[in-house]
């Protein structure tokens, strides 16, 4: 219900309706899809962490759609994998690139029950502490957060039928 109102909100304010429309289109179907292909529906969203003040003075962190952002602002890239089938989805590996113009924030990738590895080229992945990049002269060095161009979640267990796995990382708009 909450996310529905968020999408309605995008539709109201965002001239670029395609993304929102695509998101609606890709929303989990009510009935299970084919058991072989199309079990997992993958949805990405750009969100922003917002501290929402409640009437009683407390505040809570919520994720709001980040349809439009300003340079220097932080965007939470959220990928949701939903298994619409009646069988578990196994050996799930999710790759999400760090978008152009954005800089990965160190240690910001999260996703319960998954091994998280990073890549500087979108091909070879390694844990953050083992990731290397290359200097201009070709010599290798330890990679920095700014080198990261893609994040991979390798799930340690299956996604149960009708369940979701949520992966997130944060990046700053240059």
């Amino acid at each position: 219900m909450k996310s529905q109102s968020s999408f309605a909100f995008i539709a109201l304010l965002l001239p670029l309706l395609t993304a929102a429309a695509a998101a609606e289109h890709n929303r989990p179907a009510a009935s299970p899809a084919s058991p072989k292909v199309g079990c997992i529906v993958l949805t990405t969203a750009a969100e922003q962490q917002v501290n929402v003040a409640a009437a009683d003075g407390s505040s809570s962190v919520q994720y709001q759609p980040a349809a439009r952002v300003v340079p220097g602002s932080e965007v939470v890239w959220t990928t949701t994998a939903r298994n619409n089938c009646s069988k578990p989805a196994e050996k799930v590996v999710i790759d999400q690139p760090v978008p152009e113009h954005m800089v990965f924030i160190a240690d910001s990738a999260v996703g319960g029950g998954a091994q998280i590895t990073l890549s500087v080229d979108g091909k070879d992945y390694a844990p953050a502490n083992a990731l290397t990049a290359h200097n201009a002269d070709g010599s290798a060095r330890a990679a920095r957060a700014t080198d990261v161009r893609s994040v991979r979640w390798t799930l340690t267990g299956p996604i149960a039928p009708q369940s979701e796995f949520t992966a997130r990382f944060r990046a700053v708009l240059q």
């Binding site: 993304a19 990405t44 980040a66 349809a67 439009r68 590996v93």
Partner: protein, 330 residues
């Protein structure tokens, strides 16, 4: 009702995020579409499958921000100087083209005098990129649009005339303001459709207005004039310049202008064919010794015979200083 709360939440979010962006210049161009597509590989039973997500698109808003710096925080002037420039740099630190209006002012608080903005144009662009106000520089027409691309900088000069009748070290301030043509705002405030290509614009930390001042400082401009007179006293009790006669020189030193002459010293050579008369140095009527170090006066025989009197710090208020000494004609 739902929509209203949604707008409020996102507005709060933008404001909060803006706080974190200080120190960023320009950044990704306004209107840029940031897209992202994720991919998943998995197996169900014995089958392997791949799926691609929707493509998320986020549009970069236009930030309205400006920074101004004064390149010449302090300029030395002399009272009565004309067309003295102060130099400023104005940079569009937003991420899209932005139009500003420039406003000079020289009637500011916190100084000793008001410089006078040059008429009809007090603002000039550094058209020839010389870094200095020069003949090829073009005047800014009051109220005209100044459009700067993202991260573009313009150097401008503010010209003032300096009044007369000022004291040394007096300060006069003059400033220039650069403000968004449509008006300044508050950080985080959104102008719907106010950005390049009709996207929304958000005011950065400056509120899209910046003002800096520079100052003119009246430089040390002290003047010193000296008038020398001589009187003769011959051995016969007359006033003829005969051998053995005494010549008494008297030099009246008058400080003028503005400022302070620090550690002023008066030196005068003993004329040829004369001999210094020991113990004859006087300053303002007070006799000084010939020896060095014990008082303000001394006589030196080498390299060329001369007397030297230390006058100290002199200003116009010090008044006339009179040094006298005597020689005898060989």
């Amino acid at each position: 009702m739902k929509t209203t709360s949604g707008i409020w939440l996102v507005t709060a979010g933008v404001a909060a995020l803006l706080c974190a962006r200080q120190g960023f210049a320009a950044g990704t161009a306004a209107g840029t579409a940031i897209t992202n597509t994720a991919q998943v590989n998995y197996t169900v039973g014995a089958s392997t499958a791949t799926a691609t997500s929707n493509t998320t698109t986020t549009t970069v808003l236009q930030i309205l921000d400006v920074v101004e710096t004064v390149q010449t925080p302090s300029v030395a002037v002399t009272p009565g100087d004309l067309k003295k420039p102060l130099t400023f740099r104005i940079t569009n630190t937003g991420n899209g083209p932005d139009t500003f209006v420039l406003t000079p002012s020289s009637t500011l608080a916190g100084d000793n005098f008001d410089p006078v903005l040059v008429a009809p144009s007090s603002i000039y662009f550094d058209t020839d990129n010389s870094g200095d106000y020069s003949a090829g520089d073009v005047a800014y027409v009051a109220g005209a649009d100044l459009t700067l691309a993202a991260n573009a900088t313009v150097t401008v000069f503010v010209l003032n005339n300096i009044p007369t009748g000022l004291n040394n070290a007096d300060e006069g301030r003059s400033q220039i303001g650069a403000t968004r043509k449509g008006g300044a705002g508050t950080a985080g405030q959104t102008i719907v459709g106010g950005g390049v290509g009709g996207i929304d614009a958000v005011f950065g930390s400056s509120g899209d207005t910046a003002t800096q001042f520079g100052k003119y400082v009246v430089a040390n401009n002290v003047t010193m004039s000296a008038v020398k007179t001589q009187t003769f006293s011959d051995l016969l009790g007359g006033t003829r310049p005969l051998p053995g006669a005494t010549i008494t020189y008297s030099v009246a030193i008058t400080p003028g202008g503005t400022g302070t002459a620090t550690a002023a010293t008066f030196n005068d050579a003993i004329p040829a064919n004369t001999t210094y008369k020991p113990g004859s140095i006087k300053l303002n009527g007070t006799t000084l010794t010939d020896a060095a170090g014990d008082d303000a006066g001394e006589y030196l025989s080498a390299p060329a015979a001369h007397i030297s009197v230390t006058l100290g710090n002199l200003t116009q208020a010090s008044g006339v200083q009179t040094v006298s000494f005597a020689v005898t004609i060989n």
